[in-house]
């Protein structure tokens, strides 16, 4: 087998896919240029006659207190007297309502609408810069970096204001070394509701009462953490909100007349306590403005806006505090805070029209600067805005010159100008690089076609190693040429285009090369072969039912409804394909005893049909299809829900971790179910291994892993669950012990997993070796084959206990050999060669499954058990239909060919279990808890480890199915039943299970290549389809909510799948090397012959 050749071919295909993803994502995910200019006091913003430096004028408010309550949703802050039975999150903050109704001039409550993405870091950036975030920032939540754009904090500090900060440490990351005094607090983890808030409260009132500050920013995190840990409607939330109510009350008592108090939420949260998206519940936060001196000119009017965009806070605060509006703010001042006309006696207070004019001028200046830097603002709307601006400016200046107050129409006009600027910016920062997207799509499409071609021509291509080298070398040189050309023409190199050129050249050359290969086989081979080759890309081979199902799946990615219902859609398709298997077999007359063929001329069949065998095999097949259907149906109970579907859909109760369950009885039931499934998972894997005598194999690392590490792992996991399930607060005396166990147990599991994998890699052979001094008659035969079978009982060696096997070794050895050892005749017999490839792979998947289960909520153990059953059912269905085909003499040449149906079933099941393990293709639904498994105190440094843990959690089903993919190739060989062996014996053939692969390395290699190419094709087309959907529907209303996250998840899923597919293949290669080595020791001639 050309091991390196196969691996490098697959690596090359994966690399092409990666280039395609990189190109497409680079063009699709939006980037906004940051304008690195700052506003200064010298900016001429007021009309020419009044050259006044407003920084030195007395501002309306000397000081401000900003209380940011993370995730303070708008409805938390409202108080509804009519609500007789408030839930835990309702009517807990009456302070706002009381103030608004009793002192309407002093305080007011607004609906403060954030922009997506509603993640804390983006919101803090938006709250200080007044600009609009872009999607690409979403990923940076773990590692914030300092804000470089002009912002309110910088402006305040520049004017010598003392900004004191306390609370969530994200601010310190965004504004390092900026604050006059900074008291960042570190929350241990998401369950820690009080550390940060208590830290703030220790200092807040003392600071406000003192005089060493101008602006105090306090960021409370408890409400957000409470939502994440316990959902919205939970007693803890009531307590937290009541505490915040008290905080606001005492803050109102502490502030003085020259101080503005702002209480706000940075974003909202869903009812499940998550945020990040753009549903109303996530974007709508509360904003409360208060001052002991009258803040508003009059009581709230009817036409006053109730909804305030988040960008509007920055210009408002800036003008109220007398600092320039940050350069790139696109917000508009909050008019009710300004008196209608500037009164001369109240110095410093700007009038409405004046404030608006400053605002308009600043926004216009930003637009000009931005459009000179980047060409992404559309020309026509820019010129329209410019016309509007000149109109405004002419009218305003005229009214100032005449000494008249500007007309109310002008005020409205300025407001509408600011609104349309904001809307233009919003629309523009959803702009795409179409050329890059097109290049990415082309590369992806060609890569998919290449996979299809590889799968059809694997037998030819596996031999031609020189071509790949030539191809890659040529493509790389073309890429280099493009880079040099760019350097000459543009003066700089854009890596994306070099990669695009490389990938496209490589793909086109591969097609040409395949065409050549096809032509050469067509002339060289016999005619039937040539005909088969000739049709490898015809429409006919595309329109077989499994590929039609795949096509439907790909088409479903173009509709948001189907993406939202993806879990059900995939289950539906998998079930349809599962039903297709028996129907198709029946159509071919293979399923049940073909008694109706009696009147027909019997087909020439090399194998005598035994009705009993067919009946048995058919029953196995139907039973496995039934098992498949059952596990598919049950897996529907583990789905999570989209935010939109809250009304009609309830998330699975199994998704709640045990520690958060409040009902004791339910907790017990869940715990028992989880433990039972875990032990069943371990038991089933071990049972299979025991049945194939792997646990008895002598000495090897794999056997040790199977015998000891796997059960130990699941014991540790069970213990870990038990420890995690203890309710917080109980067992106070052993709390320390519990805390320690929560650290130690997962880490033990991680290290056991590492040891197990290492052992498996070092010594993957699961062969039972037995040496004995031979009473062997005569000298050894001159030539040995890899498998020797003499008697009809040969295959029993694989299955019967060793004592019986020993008795029967007299007349045969399975996969063994004899060797002269130490000069005296010794016989070394090897058992278990029949499952030599599949056993390590299965063990690998079993270990991996337990490890991944650790990262999930306990209830998911049931889902993992279903996953195991479903993989078993698919494998058995595949094996049975292959056997039935064989029984009827319709085996494909070589018998190693894996048809499309099982491959598509296998790969779609990965997506199905992605949903059945409680995941969704949305960012808020990522199970962040996984990052803290084994690290309950959070991660001290770096994001690599938590990111890895979360990735492993999110794509666990992709990982399991990808790593186990080669099993599809092995299973029909492993599951040879006795009658089949007998029939082969009668024909004088060998019954050798997987050793057949050894004997036929060429075919083995090509089958492995074909299988992995098909798997990559199935995943690749899904990736391509979701990229296409994102490109075509890029202006769709839910693009950022549905299609873009779907694309990101699909791309990440593809990356993970391809990596683990390569790992699985590599493991098979490793076993092959080991087997080769063992054979060499047994039978030197054989290795020479190869």
């Amino acid at each position: 087998m050309q091991r390196l050749q196969i691996l490098s071919l697959l690596l090359w295909v994966c690399a092409l896919f990666y280039v395609g993803i990189y190109l497409f994502v680079g063009g699709f995910l939006l980037v906004r240029l940051e304008v690195n200019r700052s506003s200064t006091c010298e900016d001429v913003l007021l009309p020419g006659g009044q050259q006044r430096d407003f920084c030195h004028a007395k501002p309306r408010f000397r000081r401000a207190v900003l209380l940011v309550i993370d995730a303070l949703r708008y409805d938390f802050a409202r108080f509804d007297r009519a609500n007789a039975a408030p839930r835990h999150h309702e009517n807990k903050m009456p302070v706002f309502e009381e103030t608004v109704s009793s002192r309407p001039l002093h305080g007011r409550l607004y609906n403060f609408r954030a922009d997506a993405p509603t993640a804390t870091m983006q919101r803090i950036k938006g709250l200080t810069t007044g600009s609009l975030p872009t999607f690409i920032d979403v990923g940076n939540n773990f590692a914030s970096s300092a804000v470089l754009e002009d912002n309110l904090v910088h402006q305040l500090v520049r004017l010598g204001k003392r900004v004191v900060f306390m609370g969530d440490e994200t601010w310190e990351l965004l504004y390092p070394k900026t604050f006059h005094r900074s008291l960042p607090f570190h929350a241990l983890n998401v369950r820690d509701l009080d550390t940060v808030d208590d830290g703030i409260l220790r200092h807040l009132y003392a600071t406000v009462a003192g005089d060493d500050w101008d602006v105090v920013i306090a960021h409370f995190i408890g409400v957000d953490h409470c939502g994440h840990s316990f959902t919205v409607d939970h007693p803890a939330m009531a307590g937290k909100l009541a505490q915040m109510d008290g905080v606001v009350r005492s803050a109102m008592e502490h502030v003085q007349n020259d101080t503005l108090l702002v209480v706000m939420g940075d974003h909202g949260m869903t009812d499940a306590g998550d945020h990040g998206g753009e549903s109303r519940k996530e974007t709508d936060a509360a904003l409360f403005l208060y001052s002991p001196s009258p803040l508003f000119p009059g009581p709230p009017s009817k036409d006053e806006p109730q909804v305030v965009p988040q960008t509007d806070l920055v210009p408002t605060l800036a003008l109220q505090l007398g600092v320039p509006i940050p350069y790139s703010s696109v917000g508009q001042v909050l008019l009710p805070l300004f008196p209608p006309h500037r009164s001369q006696n109240r110095t410093g207070g700007l009038g409405q029209s004046e404030a608006l004019w400053i605002n308009v001028k600043q926004v216009n200046r930003f637009l000009k600067t931005y459009s000179s830097m980047a060409k992404d603002l559309p020309e026509n709307s820019l010129s329209k805005l410019q016309v509007e601006f000149s109109h405004i400016s002419a009218e305003y200046l005229a009214s100032v010159r005449n000494g008249l107050p500007p007309s109310p129409e002008l005020v409205v006009f300025m407001q509408s100008y600011l609104t349309s600027v904001r809307e233009t910016c919003q629309a523009t920062w959803a702009r795409f690089n179409l050329l890059k997207m097109a290049a990415g799509l082309t590369v992806l499409l060609f890569a998919c076609l290449l996979c299809f071609m590889l799968s059809e021509l694997s037998r030819v291509l596996v031999n031609e190693s020189a071509l790949l080298k030539a191809n890659v070398a040529a493509a790389l040189s073309v890429g280099f040429c493009v880079a040099v050309g760019q350097l000459f023409v543009w003066g700089h190199v854009e890596v994306a285009w070099c990669l695009a050129a490389t990938a496209l050249v490589s793909e086109l050359m591969a097609f040409w090369w395949a065409y050549q290969a096809k032509a050469s086989t067509a002339t060289g081979g016999n005619r039937a072969k040539a005909q088969k080759r000739a049709s490898w890309l015809s429409l006919h081979s595309f329109f077989v039912p499994p590929l039609v199902v795949l096509l439907l799946r790909d088409a479903s990615l173009f509709s948001d409804s189907y993406v939202i219902a993806e879990g059900h859609v995939v289950t539906f398709l998998v079930f349809s394909l599962a039903l297709y298997v028996p129907i198709h077999l029946n159509w071919d007359g293979l399923l049940l005893s073909p008694n109706h063929d009696l009147h027909k001329p019997a087909r020439p069949s090399p194998v005598a049909l035994s009705p009993v065998a067919i009946w048995k095999e058919s029953c196995t097949l139907l039973a496995s299809v039934g098992l498949l259907a059952g596990s598919l149906y049950l897996s529907l109970f583990f789905h999570s829900c989209w935010e939109e579907d809250q009304a009609s859909c309830k998330p699975s109760p199994f998704l709640t971790p045990l520690s958060r369950l409040q009902d004791g009885q339910l907790k017990n039931v869940h715990c028992i179910l989880a433990l039972a499934s875990l032990s069943l998972w371990t038991h089933l894997s071990r049972r299979w291994l025991r049945r194939h005598r792997i646990l008895d194999s002598s000495g090897g690392g794999a056997a040790f892993t199977a015998r000891w590490i796997l059960p130990l792992l699941s014991m540790c996991l069970g213990l870990n669950w038990a420890v995690g399930a203890t309710p917080e607060g109980s067992f106070r005396n052993v709390a320390e012990l519990i805390g320690m166990a929560q650290v130690a147990l997962p880490r033990t599991i991680f290290s056991l997993l590492g040891i197990g994998m290492l052992l498996l890699w070092l010594d993957p052979l699961t062969v039972f070796l037995k040496t004995r001094t031979a009473a062997a008659p005569g000298p050894p035969p001159p030539h040995y084959r890899a498998t020797i079978s003499i008697g009809p009982r040969t295959e029993l060696h694989h299955l019967v206990p060793p004592d019986r096997a020993r008795r029967s070794t007299g007349d045969g050895k399975s996969g063994g050999g004899r060797a002269e050892m130490d000069g005296r005749p010794a016989v070394e017999e090897a058992y278990g060669l029949g499952t030599v490839y599949s056993a390590p792979l299965l063990l690998f998947c079993g270990l991996l499954g337990v490890g991944l289960l650790l990262l999930h909520p306990e209830g998911m153990a049931l889902s993992f058990l279903l996953l195991l059953l479903e993989t078993g059912a698919i494998l058995h269905t595949h094996a049975s239909s292959a056997t039935l085909g064989h029984l009827h003499g319709r085996t494909h040449p070589g018998g190693l060919y894996v048809p499309w149906t099982p491959v598509v079933l296998w790969c779609l099941s990965a997506t199905q279990f992605f949903h059945a393990t409680g995941h969704l293709s949305t960012f808020p639904s990522i199970q962040w808890d996984a990052a803290f498994v084994g690290f309950p105190g959070g991660h001290a440094s770096g994001i690599a480890l938590p990111a890895t843990l979360v990735t492993l959690n999110t794509f666990s089903s992709h990982i399991l199915f990808a790593a186990g993919c080669p099993l599809l190739l092995f299973w029909p060989l492993v599951r040879g039943s006795s009658w089949r062996a007998r029939e082969e014996e009668e024909e004088g053939k060998d019954f050798a299970m997987e050793t057949r692969l050894r004997e036929n390395p060429q075919r083995f290699g090509s089958a492995l290549l074909q299988l992995s190419a098909r798997c990559l094709f199935v995943h690749g087309t899904q990736l391509f389809a979701s990229a296409c959907a994102a490109a075509i529907l890029r202006r769709h209303i839910v693009i950022w909510k549905v299609f873009a996250p779907k694309l990101m998840f699909e791309a990440a899923g593809f990356l993970v799948t391809s990596v683990f597919l390569l790992i699985g293949i590599a493991l098979v290669m490793r076993v092959d090397v080991a087997v080769g080595g063992r054979f060499k020791r047994f039978i030197p001639e054989l290795s020479l012959a190869q």
Partner: protein, 216 residues
């Protein structure tokens, strides 16, 4: 020779198709407030009943049903009823496995199963008699021995595929009345059934050179 049989079949298919249409039109005229969407179950049972009645009478009059070894008509009838009931249960199970709600709208699901039974299993019973072996045999590549077998194959397949494709519309957020469970599926199966009735004679006529049927 089987030219004539083809003609008989085409006309019986035309009667069946018209019965499908009549079962929609007649109650709409007679019953106040009848609508395919709102009083869906009523329409569904009308359709199922009409198709069953026409099917049975047509095949009885034509004498198509294959003679079997079981001469006792009562036992045949009993077995037929049993098979019909089992088929309903079978369809119900399959539909639930496809993701239909288990308990909430069990009546709707079962009605769909009844409809599918009357459109497919009943025809099997009429053409082949209560003989599961024969049913399985018909659905193999070389299993169709008469014109009727072929038409059965086509209508059953198109009905089931129609119902299957009807399910595609359920998750879409179009908010149409026919997206409610099980309206789209039963409409799909009815449309599939009618198109199967139309397609079967055409297909057989088109492939008449390749087909070698026995005549009855």
């Amino acid at each position: 020779m089987w030219d004539q049989e083809l003609r008989t079949m085409a006309s019986s298919h035309a009667i069946l198709a018209s019965s499908v249409i009549m079962s929609t039109v007649v109650p709409a005229v007679l019953v106040r407030g009848f609508s395919v969407y709102e009083t869906h179950l009523l329409w569904l049972y009308c359709l199922a009943g009409a198709v069953a009645a026409v099917n049975i009478s047509a095949f009885w009059l034509l004498g198509i049903a294959s003679p079997t070894a079981d001469p006792n008509p009562l036992s045949r009838l009993l077995r037929s009823c049993l098979y019909l009931f089992l088929s309903c249960l079978f369809y119900h199970t399959v539909v639930v496995l496809y993701g239909a709600p288990l308990i909430e709208s069990a009546a709707e699901t079962f009605s769909l199963a009844v409809l599918l039974t009357s459109l497919t299993t009943l025809r099997c019973l009429c053409v082949l008699g209560p003989d599961v072996q024969a049913w399985i045999r018909v659905f193999t590549r070389h299993g169709a021995k008469t014109v009727w077998d072929s038409s059965l194959r086509i209508t059953v397949a198109s009905t089931v595929v129609g119902a299957w494709m009807g399910a595609f519309f359920i998750p879409l957020n179009w908010d149409r009345p026919w997206q409610a469970w099980p309206v789209s599926c039963s409409l799909g199966s009815a449309i599939g059934f009618v198109s199967g009735l139309v397609a079967a004679p055409a297909w057989i006529y088109y492939h008449r050179k390749q087909l070698t049927y026995k005549c009855k």
